[in-house]
């Protein structure tokens, strides 16, 4: 055993509080240590050279480095070991900066502690084993879940680079929430005009397999090798035969609220969600169809010129393999009817922002004419209330919707364009318009379109003489205000969805209490999920506008391309390992493993023992702590290694 110890001054970050020379001198007295050096900056080029030179000249086979946090430079020094011809896992790190010099002031105490930390590290280093990683093949296909703008963008980016993509969308058409919108800020270009070409492109792309009306049923496997079961729900319409003529949808006698139009009008039991739907093929809603429920009607079947109606169709399950997964499942509006002060949803003329999008849209239920839902009258006064279900901790929604400031301004402009004589009032808390051209957009709403901004929350809405009365406060004037309006649009906050939470469970990725998926690092790994090979994009991660969703989708796509550009992946060797001779085959490890990394292995004599799949193992060590006969060791953190650290610590310091 030839251990080399290197103590870093870190400029004076460490040496100001820790007597590094004394630490090095002490290290020399420890068993197995053949050299101990101090280095002004171990991570610098000369520092690295010194370590390499010592490894080669003195034949060192274990290295201890006392420097900063291993999070900062462990990877750097692993590389140094590898370059010097030493297995990189023969390195042990002692954190003398974040855990010692930066948090203590007394030089003597800090030096004493540094000596202990080096002692512990040397003791552990003596027990390190060379470790090698294994390699696994990478499947080059990618699964994108969610066919909104983020999913479409990610799928197109990957497909354009020449790789195969499967795009799974749970509703009958792709397009997502963006397809519902009328015009979009800050340019006020028509949402459909910029979205539909992309929908068509992704559907017809040779590298894209589109699964609409389909859901991910089950996911297994690991980065580079996911196995995914997809349920293709029965449309009851043969997609091969259907021409999308739509005659069936016109004849259907059943009425059900249209999901696409946010319940503002009705669709049939057989319907195409909206005129630009992709694929442009109807679907039968099994929960309302008379034929399915009562075996009566069947009009659609009679009228279909190509015989495409297929009542006997069943759900289909298909299993496919992918190397990477992008989740882009989007958002929905929070349930605003918890707001009793706004009438719990009982007033017809208090509507949501997404309903207003549909009313403004020329393909919407009112043909783009702004009308009250109660009496069909054109409103003279339109009031918009921002932050309904956003920044409201009392209602369990402390976060900002990040888009309602902007679309409220947009509504002011569009309302005035549709109804030049209408007055628009916007009740707001703060205006957050901090992206390119956003502030200018809000200014334009105020100055050119004459939107009346009232700073303050609306505390009550009620009906009086057929008009809606808003009571609230103008916090700038310090007055209470009462406004009579004909139409009230609630800028309802954004929430993650229940179906995303369910999907997250299948994928084993984390989500927060609001149903948003959690990124691996809020700043530095914003599109990676907590599981390797699974990426997140768009509003399923947090409330986002279209530009950000698209940017994040492309970012996730580029991460996927980076991943599948490798033919093989190296896995971390810091994984669990079973000593077959000790294993009694109780498989408690198998039941606790959160990553399904433990498998049964049948030996030649028929006994069953546990086996770790190193590609799936994330190295948490749960199995190791669970195993009754201690047959599973977590490499790099074995019982022996940990106990040696604790023992050296306790023996050294009878008193502290």
């Amino acid at each position: 055993m030839k251990i080399g110890v290197f103590i870093c001054h870190c400029g004076n970050n460490i040496s100001a509080t820790v007597d590094v020379e004394q630490v090095a001198q002490h290290a020399l007295t420890l068993p197995g240590v053949v050299c101990a050096h101090t280095i002004p900056h171990a991570c610098s080029e000369p520092g690295q050279q010194l370590i390499k030179k010592n490894i080669q000249e003195k034949g060192l086979n274990r290295i201890v480095i006392g420097a900063c946090s291993p999070r900062v430079h462990e990877a750097t020094f692993k590389r140094v070991l590898a370059q010097a011809g030493l297995n990189p896992y023969l390195l042990e790190f002692a954190n003398l900066r974040e855990q010692c010099s930066w948090v203590h002031e007394d030089r003597q105490l800090a030096t004493g502690k540094a000596i202990d930390l080096i002692d512990m590290a040397v003791n552990k280093a003596a027990r390190l084993e060379p470790l090698t990683s294994s390699k696994v093949d990478v499947n080059k296909r990618t699964l994108v879940i969610g066919g909104g703008i983020a999913g479409i963008q990610a799928a197109l980016d990957i497909a354009d680079s020449g790789h195969e993509v499967a795009l799974v969308e749970k509703t009958p058409t792709i397009g997502g929430n963006m397809a519902r919108m009328d015009k979009v800020f800050p340019t006020l270009d028509c949402s459909a005009c910029i979205l539909t070409p992309k929908m068509v492109e992704v559907a017809s792309h040779p590298n894209v397999t589109l699964y609409t009306y389909s859901e991910v049923e089950q996911v297994s496997g690991f980065v580079g090798n996911f196995k995914v079961k997809i349920r293709k729900k029965a449309r009851l319409v043969d997609m091969e035969k259907c021409t999308g003529c739509g005659s069936c949808t016109l004849k259907c006698p059943v009425k059900a609220p249209s999901e696409f139009n946010m319940g503002l009008d009705n669709r049939g039991a057989i319907y195409i969600p909206f005129p630009q739907a992709v694929p442009h093929i109807p679907v039968i809603d099994k929960t309302v169809c008379s034929y399915i429920l009562k075996k009566k009607c069947g009009l659609c079947q009679k009228i279909c010129p190509t015989g495409a109606i297929a009542f006997e169709q069943q759900d289909e399950l298909t299993e496919e393999e992918f190397g990477a997964i992008i989740v882009a499942t989007g958002y929905e509006l929070m349930d605003w009817t918890v707001y009793g002060e706004y009438g719990y949803g009982k007033y017809k003329d208090v509507i949501t922002s997404m309903q207003y999008e549909r009313i403004l849209s020329s393909s919407g239920p009112t043909g783009g004419h702004i009308k009250r839902l109660s009496d069909g009258r054109e409103p003279e006064v339109v009031a918009i209330i921002a932050c309904v279900g956003s920044r409201d901790a009392a209602r369990g929604r402390p976060y900002c919707s990040s888009v309602c400031c902007m679309y409220s301004a947009k509504y002011a402009m569009l309302t005035r364009e549709h109804l030049p004589n209408a007055q628009v009032y916007i009740f707001y808390m703060d205006i957050r318009a901090c992206s390119k051209m956003y502030e200018e957009f809000v200014q334009r709403a105020q100055e050119k379109y004459g939107a009346n901004y009232v700073r303050g929350r609306v505390s009550k809405i009620f009906e009086r003489n057929g008009r809606m009365v808003l009571q609230g406060a103008d916090t700038l004037l310090g007055q209470s205000v009462e406004l009579e309006a004909d139409l009230v649009v609630l800028a309802v906050g954004i929430t993650g969805t229940q179906s995303t939470i369910e999907l997250a469970k299948k994928l084993n990725i984390s989500h927060d209490e609001y149903g948003f998926l959690t990124e691996n690092h809020p700043k530095l790994r914003p599109v990676e999920s907590s599981t390797a090979g699974i990426f997140i994009a768009g509003a399923c991660q947090s409330p986002k506008d279209i530009p950000l969703s698209v940017a994040q989708a492309s970012s996730a796509a580029s991460k996927v391309l980076g991943l599948i550009s490798h033919d093989k992946l190296e896995t971390s060797p810091l994984v669990a390992e079973v000593t077959i001779l000790k294993c009694v085959g109780c498989f408690r490890c198998l039941s606790v493993c959160p990553f399904s990394a433990i498998e049964e292995q049948v030996l030649r004599d028929g006994t069953k023992v546990a086996q770790v799949n190193p590609a799936l193992c994330q190295g948490c060590g749960l199995c190791s702590a669970t195993c009754p006969p201690a047959a599973i060791a977590l490499r790099g953190f074995t019982d022996d290694q940990l106990i040696s650290q604790m023992e050296s610590l306790c023996q050294l310091n009878p008193e502290l």
């Binding site: 009793g340 009550k460 009906e463 009086r464 003489n465």
Partner: protein, 290 residues
């Protein structure tokens, strides 16, 4: 027979004695025994909790400790302000053992924090509607009434944890069971101006006027209340409201217990209905009560 401590509070001894009369009558009819707390003191009203929280708490704690001594766990207060004071004191005592000890050592107050504090509306809401209906002897079906709850009966929601703070229905349910036609309206919990009637009458008159206006728009022939202060602002000051708002309201303001009492067959006089400033007589004769 249910037995509870009864805290009438100052208003019910004076300006709102008819609320006291009718509350006692209704409870008696419903087999609820009210034990008036002997030597009860003021709940602290508005003044105490505005000046010193500890004093406000101690005043109510004293009344709760009397209840404990009387051997009744739970206390009912018809007046929402008294109710709010007692409820918040009880809540503080339950969540702050240090305070309970302090009150015991400094003031020798022994409070059982386990008992409950009810408003009269809440207490009566626990009774099955069928039981109420069984008591009805006089048909009030011709009366169209808007129930006005005011601020403190259902708020703050975290403290009272009773009924809906935005659209309460408990009084509506009670009076519907008593046979009265209850009207849906939107001003059930709007502020009547409360004590601003003294310090800043302009605000109170406007707010109370708005309430009367909305009740009238809803088609109400009378407004049912559960608070002596709301009653005073809407009834006693209705003439001032008419002057200030240039209106001509003539809307009887009736305690909900009085309406229940009428339905249960009590005489208007026995319920103190003749004490209101806005004459209720003409309305009652419409439904055949003299």
């Amino acid at each position: 027979m249910t037995k509870l401590g009864y805290f009438p509070g100052c208003s019910l001894e004076g300006s709102a004695s008819e609320y006291d009369q009718s509350s006692r009558y209704v409870c008696k009819q419903l087999d609820i025994e009210l034990v008036e707390l002997p030597d009860w003191s003021c709940c602290g009203a508005h003044a105490a909790h505005h000046t010193q929280h500890k004093l406000a708490c101690a005043l109510s704690a004293r009344n709760l400790s009397i209840a404990t001594k009387q051997g009744v766990d739970s206390v009912v207060a018809p007046c929402p302000a008294c109710y709010s004071g007692l409820k918040s004191a009880q809540n503080q005592l339950a969540n702050n053992p240090g305070l309970t000890e302090k009150l015991k050592s400094e003031l020798d107050l022994d409070c059982n924090a386990k008992g409950e504090v009810f408003s009269l509306v809440e207490l009566l809401s626990h009774i099955e509607p069928e039981t109420l209906k069984a008591q009805v002897k006089v048909d009030l079906g011709g009366l169209k009434v808007a129930a006005y709850y005011g601020c403190l009966l259902v708020r703050p929601p975290k403290l009272v944890q009773f009924d809906d703070p935005e659209n309460p229905t408990s009084i509506d349910n009670l009076l519907s069971a008593a046979g009265v036609q209850m009207l849906p309206w939107d001003y059930k919990v709007q502020c009547c101006g409360a004590v601003l009637g003294i310090s800043n009458p302009d605000i109170q008159l406007k707010l109370s006027g708005d309430i009367l206006k909305m009740a009238q728009l809803a088609g109400a022939q009378a407004v049912a209340v559960a608070c002596p202060l709301c009653h005073a602002n809407l009834d006693l000051r209705q003439e001032q409201i008419n002057k200030y708002c240039k209106s001509n309201f003539n809307l009887p303001i009736i305690y909900f217990t009085q309406l229940m009492g009428l339905a249960f067959g009590a005489s208007p006089k026995g319920l103190g209905i003749d004490k209101h400033m806005v004459n209720v007589g003409p309305l009652l004769s419409k439904v055949g009560i003299r």
